[in-house]
Every structure is written in structure tokens, then in C-alpha cells.
Symmetry: D2
């Protein structure tokens, strides 16, 4: 049996980072439906992120996206975050929304554009120096829509050069998280399509380059928890971008499409002793709340990760190992499912109460009046959004 006190300690120590852009408007290529009360600047995003932390207690960091969250004075932004009880987390780069990047950023055939894109990555490290961020998260939309459009291999050379230059710019306590993605916005080929590509580049870069797994970026049938287990074994797993999907990169609330998969992922984390923040894995959300209210959706997402984690922690590891070693397929599966089928909501309510929180974060948020307040007060100005 799992040690309940240890389970509670682990749940209390867990940290989940939320992304500034999830508080802004988002949508599909067909339509962005604006929502009332959406933040109009980085400060308002931080204020919303602080609400999520207020009711969950495990989400003190918020990832920024440059240039969406560019400000003149990061020290001031840091101080503002601190005043809200939160802090600035990873810095995300954006080399996909400038007109120059139509055919790629760091892999573009045009050296001028590659220079511009790499300079943006270096600028992001400058910002990290100011925010004190540890993590530089790199996602490249680079790729091809048509066979022949560009040379697949030359693009890898260009990618490697940009990564090398950026890596060499990192401070001692900074690191690169290199994301991969099967498709979108490029349709025929992406320049970092899978974990293997990211892994190979990270190996060449050095120990401060690690792979970031976005749970929505895989081909159908991919066993994500295998990747988790494998990268943990290779000491190259740096971060998650959590979300969920049914078919493509849907960016839905994590745990909403396949909660069992999320549980299996978190089980590999627990099994690899990698849950504790000291291990160094950053557990981030990367989601788009296109049609649902954003703050409660993010609270729900945090709770979904917590519930999957609690179930993973409850797995009777000794019984599991015994059944596995004995080749008892049904019993081994049953031990795992026993934890999954447990209703962990009472346990998490206890953990929250012990931490001085409301046991019902969604209800507490609803009762707080924050939603009504932002709707009433955030009028005028430009709402934040993917294009903002």
C-alpha cells in the first residue's frame, strides 16, 4: 500500500506552471471568439494567474511569451508578480508570427531571416536574465507544406546552428527546453517533428538542453508514457506542455480527452522519482480555452493534473512489482487500475484544507466574484490573444 502521508506530502509539493497566453483569447483558423474580461496586458494576465494559484496552491509560476508579454521593465513585472504571490517562469519565444517567417524562422533558406530569428532567441535569454527564469522554451513552427519546398537536411543544419548559438548564450543556471510537434502550422514536414529529433539535437547541444513533451503533439497511436519513461532513463526530459486532444493539437484542458493516459504519464513520473520540483522537470500547461471561461478552465486543468498525480502516487508499487515479476498480466494490470479507479477527490480536498485552501477550488473561484469583476472592469483596450 502507498504511504498516505507521503502521498499528501508529494501532492503538496507538486508545482504546475500556467501559461500567460491561456488567459487571453484564442481560437481556430475559422474564428477567435472573444470573451469578456480577458486581460489586456501582461499585468492582467499575472493577476489571473494569481487567481489560479490562490485557489489551487500549486501554480505559483506563470510562463511568459515574447513578444506577446514584452514589457519595458521586467524587474517591475517581477515585483508585480511577487506582490501577487506568484513568479515568472519559463520564457517562450515566438518566431512564427512575423511576416518574414512565412517559410520558416531559424531554418529559413534566407540567411537574413535566420539571423533575425536567432536574434530573437538571444533576446529571450536577455529577458531571462532579467526575469530570473531558468527555462527557455523553444517551439519552431518551421516546416514545409509541400514536398520539395525546401531541403529537409539543410534545414537541420540551420536549426543546429541556431540552437548552438542560443545554447552558448545561456547562463549557467539556464537551459533550453526543445519542443517537438508532428504537424501544424506546417503540413508536410516539420523541422522538429518528434521526440527523437529533439533528443538528438539536445544530445549534441549538451546537458542543459532537454526535451519538452507537449502531450498534444504526437501521431495517433503514440504511447506518450513510453517517451516519458525513456527520456527519464536518458536524463533528457525537461518539461511538459500539458493539454489534451482527441485528434490533432486541440489544446483542450489536460485530462479532458483521455484521463487514463494522463494517469499513465504521471505514473511514469512517480515511478522515475521525477515529481518533486527538485528533480527539475517543469510541468506546464499549454492550452487554448476557445469556448469555455478561461480562469476556471485553468483551475480545472490544474486539478486534473493533481488528480492524475494522486492516483499515480496511490499505485501499490510493491504489489505491482510482484505481479510484474511473476508475469501475472491480469494482476499487474489490476493493481494499476485499482489506483486509477480510486476517487481521489476527497484526498485532494484534505490536502487543500491542510494547506489552508478551500477544498473546492472551482466553487471558491466562482464565489470570489473575480469573473464578474474582470468582466466589469476590463473594458476598452485590446484584449490579449494569439495575435496580440
Amino acid at each position: 500500500m502507498a504511504d498516505l502521508a507521503a502521498v499528501k506530502r508529494a501532492l503538496t509539493a507538486q508545482r504546475i506552471e500556467t501559461p500567460s497566453w491561456a488567459y487571453g483569447n484564442s481560437g481556430t483558423r475559422f474564428k477567435v471568439f472573444a470573451q469578456p474580461g480577458v486581460p489586456r496586458n501582461p499585468e492582467e494576465k499575472l493577476a489571473d494567474a494569481a487567481e489560479v494559484h490562490r485557489y489551487t496552491g500549486v501554480a505559483p509560476a506563470v510562463a511568459l511569451h515574447i513578444p506577446w508579454d514584452k514589457v519595458d521593465d521586467y524587474a517591475k513585472l517581477n515585483a508585480y508578480a511577487e506582490s501577487l504571490g506568484i513568479e515568472i517562469g519559463a520564457i517562450n519565444t515566438n518566431v512564427f508570427q512575423d511576416d518574414d517567417y512565412k517559410l520558416g524562422s531559424v531554418t529559413n533558406p534566407d540567411p537574413r531571416i535566420r539571423r533575425k530569428a536567432t536574434d530573437h532567441l538571444l533576446e529571450a535569454v536577455d529577458i531571462m536574465d532579467q526575469t530570473g527564469s531558468r527555462d527557455l522554451k523553444l517551439w519552431f513552427s518551421d516546416g514545409l507544406n509541400y514536398p520539395g519546398q525546401d531541403d529537409l537536411r539543410n534545414r537541420q543544419d540551420r536549426l543546429a546552428a541556431a540552437l548552438r548559438e542560443t545554447y552558448d548564450r545561456l547562463g549557467d543556471h539556464q537551459r533550453i527546453l526543445l519542443e517537438y510537434k508532428l504537424f501544424e502550422p506546417a503540413f508536410y514536414a516539420t523541422d522538429v517533428p518528434d521526440w527523437g529529433t529533439s533528443y538528438a539535437h539536445c544530445i549534441e547541444l549538451g546537458e542543459r538542453a532537454t526535451v519538452c513533451i507537449d502531450t498534444g503533439h504526437h501521431a495517433p497511436g503514440t504511447n506518450i508514457e513510453f517517451i516519458v519513461a525513456f527520456l527519464l532513463r536518458q536524463k533528457k526530459l525537461g518539461a511538459f506542455d500539458f493539454n489534451s486532444r482527441f485528434y490533432a493539437d486541440d489544446d483542450l484542458m489536460v485530462g479532458s480527452a483521455d484521463p487514463f493516459q494522463l494517469f499513465r504519464i504521471m505514473y511514469e513520473i512517480v515511478r522515475g522519482d521525477a515529481l518533486n520540483p527538485a528533480y527539475g522537470i517543469s510541468f506546464m500547461l499549454d492550452q487554448c480555452h476557445n469556448i469555455e471561461r478561461k480562469i476556471p478552465a485553468i483551475i480545472r486543468s490544474v486539478m486534473n493534473v493533481q488528480e492524475a498525480t494522486a492516483k499515480a502516487l496511490l499505485v501499490d508499487r510493491d504489489a505491482l512489482t510482484r505481479a510484474q515479476d511473476a508475469g501475472d498480466v491480469l494482476e499487474a494490470n489490476a493493481v494499476l487500475m485499482d489506483a486509477y479507479n480510486t476517487d481521489v477527490r476527497p484526498l485532494l480536498a484534505e490536502v487543500r484544507t491542510d494547506a489552508g485552501l478551500d477544498p473546492d477550488p472551482i466553487g471558491a473561484y466562482r464565489r470570489s466574484g473575480h469573473d464578474e469583476k474582470i468582466i466589469a472592469t476590463r473594458v476598452g483596450g485590446n484584449q490579449a490573444g494569439w495575435g496580440a
Copy 2:
């Protein structure tokens, strides 16, 4: 052996409809890259469509999209099209870009919104009366992002009611083309996800309701030519939205991702005697040229359909039947592949020359100076685009 004169006649008689919106800007949720020279109004779209017809000779009709192509005077638009040597084709409805449609249009839980959406469909029929269009193409973005979000079955009832009301409004020579789509922009469930759903509704509506196959709207592994063959057998295939894709609804140039699949689709059309315009199937393009020049991309797409058709027409049907009846798997496959492996470009060059066209449509377009002209003259104003 195929009768070469008959093949040429069939290729000469072939018709491919182009979509007004493909001449405008498009993109992904990440970015719309604007291109110089893009049309700013329906007339400029018609002018571009006329260029495609000028160099291919088989694309005289252009589909409109309401409200993107809304004008005050459709008779005038008709006359303008005629003056360009083309005509207005299908009318496409848009019930996905109004803020009201966040949770659906005709399947929305709110009766007011359903009424509004259905009224838009009826308005489209009014426009058809004015343009003389035969085809009302219906695609609904309606669906759910999250399990439980709405009742799947109630939504079918609402859909059926809207379709019925629209069908009953049709004139004698008008018809509904009901499109289906696996996912996007809804991620968990779409209200018309597959051909079976469209087919079942069309059966209930009556003989003037038929299925529209968008070649990019299927799950991986779906055999599209089977659907073509099956719907032909059931006399319920009304139209194609041609494009191609590698993973999702990429809307790339038809034939660019899997030219062999396009050939197999066109073979089923030829085998079902359904190529001739008199049969009543509308062969439309529905594409997004996000990063490539739009007019030559559409010319190339038309040529790709022509090439696939030519190969399909060249299949030695007698030899194929003999091998099939004999159970000679290798020979039957070889007969089909023999046609596919034929280089039909010289044949199509002949067909074009016979029709008084340049044998090289892309080259002719490039030499025409149209691209330079539109870039120079279409300045100022708002470029047409998905949101325009």
C-alpha cells in the same frame, strides 16, 4: 486499350469549379500571411478565377461564399462574370464566424441562434435564385470540444429540422450538398462527422439532397474511393471539395500529398460514368494557399485533377475486368498501375492545343503579367480573407 479520342473528348468536357475564397488570404490559427495582389472584393476574385479558366479551359464556374461574397446586386455580379467568360457556381454558407455561433449554429442549444442560422441558409437560397446557382453547399462547424458539453442526439434533431426547412425552400432545380468533417474547429465531436451521417440525413431529406466529399475531411486510413464508389451506387454523391492533406484538413493543392489516391478516386468516377457534367456531380476545389502564390496554385490544382482524370480514363477496363474476374491479383493491380505510371502530360498538352489553349498553363499565366499587374494595382483597401 482505352479509346484515345474518347479520352480526349472526356478531358475536354471535364469541368472543375474553383472557390472564390481560395483567391483570398488564408492561414492557420498561428498566422495568416498576407500576399500582395490579393482581391479586395468579389469582382476581383472573379477576375482571378477568370485567369484560371483562361489558361485551363475547364474551370468556368466559381463558387461564392456568403457573406464573404455578399453584394447588393447579384444580377450585376452575374453579368460581370459573364463578361469575363465565367459563371457563378455553388453558394456556400457561413454559419461559423458570427459571435453567436460559438456553441454551434443550427445545432446550438439556443433556439434564437438556431433561427438565425437557419435564416442564413434560407437567405442563401434567395441568393441562389438570383445567381441561378444549382448548388447550396452546407458545411457546419457545429460540434463539441468537451464530452458532456451538449447532447449529441438532440443536436441531430436540431440539425434535421434546419435541413428540412432549407430543403423545403429549394426550387425544383436546386439541391443541397451536405458536407461532413471528422474534426475542426470542434475537437471532440462534430455534428456531421462522416459520410454516413450526411448520407442518412440526405436520404431523409429527399432526392435533391446529396453528399459532398471533401477529400481532406476523413480519419487516417479511410479509403475515400470506396466512399465514392458506394455513394455512386446509392446515387447520393453530389460533389467533391478537392484538396489534399498529409494529416489533418490541410487544404493543400489537390494531388500534392497523395497523387495516387486522387487517381483512384477519379478512377471510380470514370468507372461509374460520372465524369461528364451531365451526370450532375460538381467537382470543386476547396483549398487554402497559405504560403504559395494563389492563382498559379489553383491552376496547378486544376491540372493535377486533369492528370489524375487522364490516367483514370486510360485504364484498360477490359483487361482490368478480365484480370479481376480471373482472380489474378498481380495482373489486375498491374493494369491499374500501368495507367497510373503513364506520363499524361503530353496528352493533356494536346487536348489544350486542340482547344486553342497554351499547352503549358502555368507558363502562360506567368508570361501573361497578371501576377505583376495585380500586385501593382491592388493596393489599399482590405484584402479578402477568411475573416473578410
Copy 3:
């Protein structure tokens, strides 16, 4: 809130049919791993099925597979089943293992083979007359491995003819369940690839032909509960073949790969008032226990269906409808998830105890000594298997 007494009544009334072949050996194309104690004849399969019913109380019927379960005297087999407290359920046909069927059975280009295959279907109805079975389950492995191998449309004509002849042979209380499958053993095209094809044939056949959904037979990304809801609306859902899969037709224990999906499927059943056996839907297992002990795997599978059903019954339908009608995406999803996240094992233990059963079916089976007994006594002879 759901009415707990009604939930218990529904769970008590639920019926799940098990397949005779799941008690025999099975495997992949690479290897069939034989297990000790496997039945050697239909009677021993019935004995194993009786064990499953003994400990679950909801699995009184066992489906037969012809010719695997062919006997001289079906009255005697019936009587034997009755003596074990169970009964014979659906009759499954096999037109895929005779050498003649290499290129198809009822769709074969050779009329002699079509005749032979159709005669087998008719023979199965004869057997149904003797066993008193209501359901004739038809699955055809027919299809093509290579484009061009045979004519897709002619094969539909042949299929329709065989179905018609079989349908006309049915007695008043008998019916056809027509299964569909995306791929395997045919790789390029199958003759009944999707629910739409099955549905269209069933519509043409008449009201005693209905669709059978095998949960492992879909393309990736297919929303199965949508198909359930849609077919219920059309009154054309006849049966399930339950199993689960990660990528292809894995035939794993139902609920083991995606328990949330199974819950969503059962929710649509509950929502359509279709759970009660009186409604007429047959809930069957169709699984292969390649590496795990077969009887406890089937008990576990039955329990998995029960647990998903219990959760579906616990959905607060009023609250769900309120949230759906209000367009409250998060609340509607939360209502559904609240039921899913409930641990229903105590409730099912109560239901079992109320029915005079052991609350722990797996434990009870293990303690019964049946496994040891069959291993000790079933020696010699030929074990049943897919090829037996």
C-alpha cells in the same frame, strides 16, 4: 441526482453476452501462445462461460461461432447450456477460413464461391432455428489488398445479393447484425468498412437488419459514442462487440485501453434508454486473451462494462441538461466527469451481494479452483482456437 435504487435495478437487469471463442486460444499472425486448460469442444467452452456467469450474474448467454462450435445435436447443446444455468446466444458465421475465401466470400468474383459462402449463412440460420437464437452476426473479412484487385462497386452488388437472400431466410423473430471493420485481414479496402456502409445495407434489407458496432473496428479519431447516439436515433443499432484497442483491432479486454471512452459509450446507451434487454440491443464481448488467463480476463471485462454502466447511470441528467441548455461548457463537462470520477466498485459490490453473489468476482473465481481443475483435467485432445 440519480435515483440509486433505479441505478441498482438497471445494473441488476443488465446482460452481457460472452463469445465461445474467447475461451479458446488466440494470437497474432506472429504466434498463438497456447494456454493450459483451454476448452477442447463447445461443451467445455460453455462450462467456462458458466463460470463467468456464476461470478458476475449478468452473463447468461454465450455466442457460438460456426463452424468452430458445430455439433450434431443443438438441442442437446441447448440442454447442456441450460443445465449450466446459461443459454446460447448469437450465431456467428465464418466465411474467412476456408481456402476458397482467399479473395473473398460473398463478394468473391467467382460465383461458385459466393454460392458456397451464402449457403453457409443460410446454414447458420438453420442452426439458429435449432438453438432458438435471435441474432445472426455477420462479419465479412472480404476486401482487397491491392488497388485494382477487384471492382469495389461490383462487390457491393454481390454483398447486397447475399444479404438479401439471408435476410429473406430469417424467421420472424430472427435478425441480422451486420458488423463493419476498417481493415484486417484485407488491407486496402474492406467491403463493409464503416457504420455508414452497414447502415445503408440494413436500411435496404429491412427492419430486422441492424448495425453491430465492434469498438475496435474504427479509424483513429473516430467518435464511437456519436455513432451510438446516431444509430439509436435511427433505430438501427442492434449490437456491440465490445473490446478495446490502442491502435488496431487489438481485441483487448473492454475498458482496458480507454475506460473513459467506454463510459461515454454507455452514457449514450443510458441516455437513449437502450440499456434494458427489452430494448433489444445485444451487448457482446468479442476479445482475444492472447497472453492473459482467459476466464478471469472475461470476468474482468464484464466488470469493466458494469463499472462504465454504473458511472453512466450516475450522471445527474437534470443538472447536465441545465448546464447544456445554459451553454455552460465547463459545468456540463464537470457534471459528466463527476459521474466518471466516482468509484463505483462499492456500489457494484452491493448489487452483487443483493443478488446473492460474491462482491469480488475475480477473487471468488480464483478461490473456486476452476482454473486449477481445467488445467489438470483438460489434457490431450485439440484445444479450441481460431483455427480449430
Copy 4:
């Protein structure tokens, strides 16, 4: 323009290895359809392979599968091959058909079974010493059907240990080709599911361990030519197992499902200067001719690879580079498609004639009477097959 003489030289120098097991019977889990004339021993397989080489001139090597092709005297087998004008190629291991391997071979939780499996790998190297083979091809069916069944990470440790021991046993001129596979026969997880896993192990093993790409072993949507380009860049591509598929690991004739994909793969080979046998990549077939005659199917497969290669060689590399560097998406794609759309069969007929071969290998084989001869003479005995 491509240099036609150089193209012909490259086509003449090309080598494609055929697999001994493709000449034997194969099938699906549903049925193995035996064919008349199938080999009954390794010698008869070699005789059939010699036929393929006789008519294509590019298939002089045949891969063996141990224990299916186990003989007492490999020197004698070598001599026999030589007498037929062919040679023995790669040695393939089989650790999936012994009853011990139900839960895995080198990753099995039971150390006795791991020892047995590793010993088989070492024995295969012994055989390589006798046959003079360079390549040890390793494919492991190891994996899990159910979550929890075994520990994913421990299995990697066990895999690494077996690979290390085998690698250390290799002679200086021998190497490991490590294959990966998404699924089947394991359904939930495979121990080497993707190229990244194989690559990471190969990196750790050393320079004589390289990745083998089986074209049928990927998730839907995977861009295989990207993997080819990437592994060439990393100098870790060792071999191909060619075949084609529509959905799963269908093992159909290479080029039959998606000839454009095969062309794109061969283009990356040509672009990476990796076509020449001196480069060291082994181009092997790995197919199952379940329903078609085996020898002509293999001849056709070899021809399909040749045709894709010829098209790849015909790409106008200078024009392509110019268009790519200019960011001309349409022109770059057009240059590639121009080569693909070329009918290269006349060119290959010339190459064959120049080499003293019949320009029509399939026709020549048919006319040779070999098919009739083997049907007449290979009677009695046990036909070779996957289980033989």
C-alpha cells in the same frame, strides 16, 4: 537536368536484398492461405530468390531468418547460393515464436528467458561468421498488451544489456541493424516503438549499430523521408525493410500503397549520396504475399523500388536548389513533381537491355515456366511459412 548516363550507372549499381521468408507462406491472424509451389527448405527459397535476380539483375542477396532457415552446413548453403549466382545477406533473428517468449524475449521479466533470447542473438552472430554476413537484423516483438503489465523502464535496461552483449560479440566487419515498430504483436507498448528509441540505443552501442527503417512500422502521419534525411545526417541509417501499407504493418508490395512516398524516400537517399552500395545502406524487402503469387510479386516490388529510384535520380537538383533558395514554393514543388510524373519504364527497360536482361522482368518470368515447374515439383513435404 540530370545526367542520363550517370542515372543509368546508378540504376545499374543499385542493389536490393530479398527476404527468404517472403517466398514462403504467410497470412494474417485469421488465415494463412497456402500457395502451390512454395519452397519447403532454405535451398528452394534460394532457388526462388535466384529467379528474382535472374530477371531484375539487382537482387543478388537473400536475407535469412533463423531458425526458419537453419541448416547444418552454412558453407554448403553459401556454395549453393553461389552456384545460383546469388549470395546470403543479412541474418534475421527470431525471438518471438518460442512459447517462452509470450511476455517478451530480451526484455522478459524472467532472467532465464532473457538469457535464452540473448543466446539466440549470439548464435546468429555465429551463423554470420559462417555465412560471411555483414548484417545482424534485430527486431523484437517485445512489448506489453496492458498498462501495468511490466515496467517500461526496466525493460529498457534489459534491452540495453542484451544489445550490449550482442554488439560486443560482433566481428570487425559485422554490424547490428536495430528495427523499430509502433505496434504488433504487442498492442499497448513495444520496447522499440520508434526511430528515436532505436537511435538512442545505437548511439550508446557504438558506430557499428545503426537504425533499420521498416516502411510499414510508423504511426499515421509520420513523415518517413524526414527520418531518412535525419538519420543520414546523423550517419545512423543502416538499412531499410521495404514494404507498403495502408493502415498498419500490412507488408504489401513496396510502392503499391503510396508510390509518391517511396519516391520521396528514394529522393532523400539520392540527395544524401547514399544509394551506392559502397555507402553501406542495405535496401531490403520485408513483405508478405498473402494472396498473390510470391515470385512475381517480389519481382514487381524490386521494379517498384527501381522506378522510384529512377525518378529520384531524374530530379533536376540544380533547378530544385534554385527554387528552394528563392523561396519559390510552387516551382520547387514542380521541379520535384516533374521527375515523379516522368514515365521511367522506358529508361529502366534500356538499363536492363544494356545489362543483357529482358526489358520486361515480369513477362520474362512468366514465360520462363518456373512457376509451373515449382507447382508441379514441390509436392509433399512441409511448405515454408512464418511458423515453419
